[in-house]
């Protein structure tokens, strides 16, 4: 068995990416599929390892309702800083809903109701005194379908800093953000062109650059690669593992290989009888994929349902 699980593990334990447990028969399907990309650079790093580190966000008893329908119920988990946490689960299990609850995007949908707390450095983001606009400046978002503004590449990236009253060298922020989003070399000669003229993968990286430009602490990504070809998908994944040095990333994906390849921690959601999403298991990605504690998790990651 080669070093199949390239899912991020802790580098400081010196064991590289060796799985801590032999893959069960249930995970083998996934493991085999992951093998093909084993040559890719390993994501990971010394991320999310300090058990005493303050979580980047801490969800407590979160329920979200659309009207009278409860989409997710009683969700509690901590998101470690400078790591990638993935949310996986069958379609409709409330992954997007939960993700959007973190930066209060759901506030924009009429009829949504929130229960519980989202703690950010100890502050409840749902407290009456909190302005959702400020929340979104600290917790940025990248959407499933790339949605650049119908503006130039430059103006796309500069939009956030401008409305934030940024005073300084805007050019530098734009360049820096585009570099971090691994897009600079491709667009540096056409910053005045429309962002919509870029390819799908480039558009999504532009959206990442746009999010970075506001200097958030956390970046939420809702299936950012689901509409992209495999090459662009890998580019985005590489970018994520680079970004986690500076940012905390929470990503929704329905692609289990992606979760396994790219994330440090995984939260597995499922739908209950009442169709409300709940957490089945939350653990280090490697444990979820190689040593799941719950039969449902094992069934899901082995592709038996979902």
């Amino acid at each position: 068995m080669p070093s199949t699980l390239t899912a991020p593990t802790d580098r400081d334990d010196g064991s590289g990416s060796l799985p801590t447990a032999p893959p069960t028969s249930a995970t083998r399907g996934v493991a085999l599929r992951i093998e093909r990309t084993a040559a890719e650079p390993l994501p990971g790093g010394a991320a999310g390892t300090d058990p005493d580190a303050e979580p980047a966000v801490d969800l407590r008893g979160v329920s979200v309702y659309y009207g009278s329908f409860r989409a997710v119920k009683d969700i509690s988990f901590e998101v470690p800083p400078n790591a990638i946490t993935s949310l996986i689960g069958p379609s409709g299990s409330g992954k997007s809903t939960l993700l959007r609850a973190i930066n209060r995007m759901n506030d924009l949908i009429p009829g949504t109701r929130f229960e519980g707390e989202v703690l950010y450095h100890g502050e409840n983001l749902y407290a009456d005194t909190v302005d959702p606009v400020e929340v979104r400046r600290r917790i940025g978002m990248v959407f499933q379908k790339a949605n650049p503004f119908p503006k130039s590449i430059y103006d796309n990236v500069a939009f956030g800093p401008r409305i934030n009253g940024f005073r300084g060298k805007l050019d530098e922020v734009v360049e820096g953000s585009l570099r971090r989003a691994a897009l600079w070399d491709e667009v540096k000669d056409k910053l005045r062109q429309s962002g919509l003229a870029l390819s799908g993968g480039q558009q999504q990286r532009l959206c990442i650059a746009r999010a970075i430009a506001v200097q958030p602490e956390i970046i939420l990504m809702d299936e950012p690669a689901s509409a992209l070809d495999p090459r662009s998908t890998l580019q985005i994944e590489e970018l994520m593992s680079e970004l986690k040095k500076n940012y905390t990333i929470i990503i929704v994906t329905h692609n289990m290989q992606q979760a396994a390849r790219a994330s440090d921690f995984t939260v597995f959601l499922n739908m209950g009888e009442d169709r409300a999403g709940y957490i089945v298991e939350h653990a280090r990605t490697i444990d979820i994929f190689t040593n799941p504690k719950n039969q449902l998790t094992e069934d899901y990651v082995s592709g038996r349902f979902g």
């Binding site: 005493d52 801490d58 100890g122 502050e123 983001l125 005194t129 400020e134 929340v135 653990a283």
Partner: protein, 314 residues
């Protein structure tokens, strides 16, 4: 996964998360300004209703109710025979629909089922232009063209001013509305239904008449109802082409002069009939306005119900 994270609260973060007072103020002011603009529309309709009811009540108080049953509408003589105007309105509306419903519906079928994209792109704007012709212009056309070229040939001896020419003029104005509302509902019929029909070997004629039109019934009904509302409310075509500016006798003869509810209002406001002050003739203006308002309101609600039914269907 239980990390015993000690939460070091940072008071400046709490403040920052509250946002800046300046922005809150700005957002609040803008929100309030926009809301007041929206509320102004409520003020407008309140004022309309208050004016209509106020004037109408004054009118009813002033007159002897028997005069409402008079044989003609001569407000300056104190004869307020409502039936004259109602009959005139119904006659004009009926004539208008006899023209506009078939022409509008058939145009809609053509645009929805037969026309190529290119034809649609050319023809639809032309219909819109027709809809944009000021009604006073159509009144002039009815008087100087439809009346001599069509009506007076049909029935020699008819005077220049007649209800038939006015009704046809109103009908022309109603065609675009009926065509566009019913075309919308025909285009909303799912392609699958048509394909099923063609799949069974049906021709375009059969598919249009047996599948598309029945499936679009609610929309077509809505188109007709909204057409009626439009025709009843049309003023200037009748005011110009139907004559009867001083008043009119009860008639249901389309070759005669006559007045409708709307034309009577225009006439009360103009010319020799220009009345003002608290006279009954002046107040009758508001009574007629109220009647018209209620009629079109009910029709529009009905039309809306049918439009909504089309939307729910698919």
């Amino acid at each position: 996964m239980q990390s015993g994270a000690s939460l070091r609260r940072d008071p400046s973060l709490a403040t920052a998360l509250g946002g800046t007072a300046a922005r809150h103020r700005r957002e609040r002011v803008i929100g309030a300004v926009l809301l007041s603009a929206a509320l102004l529309t409520v003020v407008v309709s309140t004022l309309i209703i208050v004016s209509l009811f106020g004037g109408a009540v004054d009118f009813i108080r002033q007159i002897d109710l028997g005069t409402l049953l008079a044989d003609g509408w001569y407000p300056r003589r104190g004869e307020f025979g409502l039936m004259t105007l109602v009959a005139g309105s119904l006659l004009v509306t009926g004539i208008a629909l006899l023209l506009a419903v078939p022409v509008g519906l058939l145009s809609a079928i053509y645009l929805s089922e037969y026309a190529s994209r290119r034809v649609r792109r050319i023809v639809k704007p032309i219909l819109e232009v027709l809809a944009g012709i000021p009604s006073v212009v159509l009144g002039f056309f009815a008087l100087t063209f439809i009346s001599p070229v069509f009506v007076q040939r049909l029935n020699p001896g008819t005077a220049d001013f007649n209800l038939l020419a006015a009704g046809l003029g109103v009908g022309i104005l109603t065609i675009p509305l009926i065509a566009s509302v019913s075309e919308d509902s025909m285009r909303a019929v799912p392609a699958a239904l048509r394909e099923a029909s063609y799949g069974l070997g049906a021709r375009r004629l059969t598919t249009s008449l047996r599948i598309v039109v029945p499936a679009a019934t609610s929309g077509i009904v809505a188109a007709v109802i909204l057409g009626i509302s439009r025709a009843i409310g049309e003023t200037m075509v009748v005011a110009v082409a139907a004559g009867g500016s001083g008043g009119a006798k009860f008639t249901v003869d389309p070759f005669r002069q006559g007045q409708t509810i709307t034309a009577a209002m225009a006439s009360l406001a103009t010319g020799t009939d220009n009345v003002a002050g608290a006279t009954a003739a002046f107040q009758s203006l508001f009574f007629l306005g109220l009647m018209l308002f209620i009629m079109t309101f009910v029709l529009n609600q009905l039309g809306d119900i049918f439009v909504r039914r089309t939307r729910q269907q698919y």
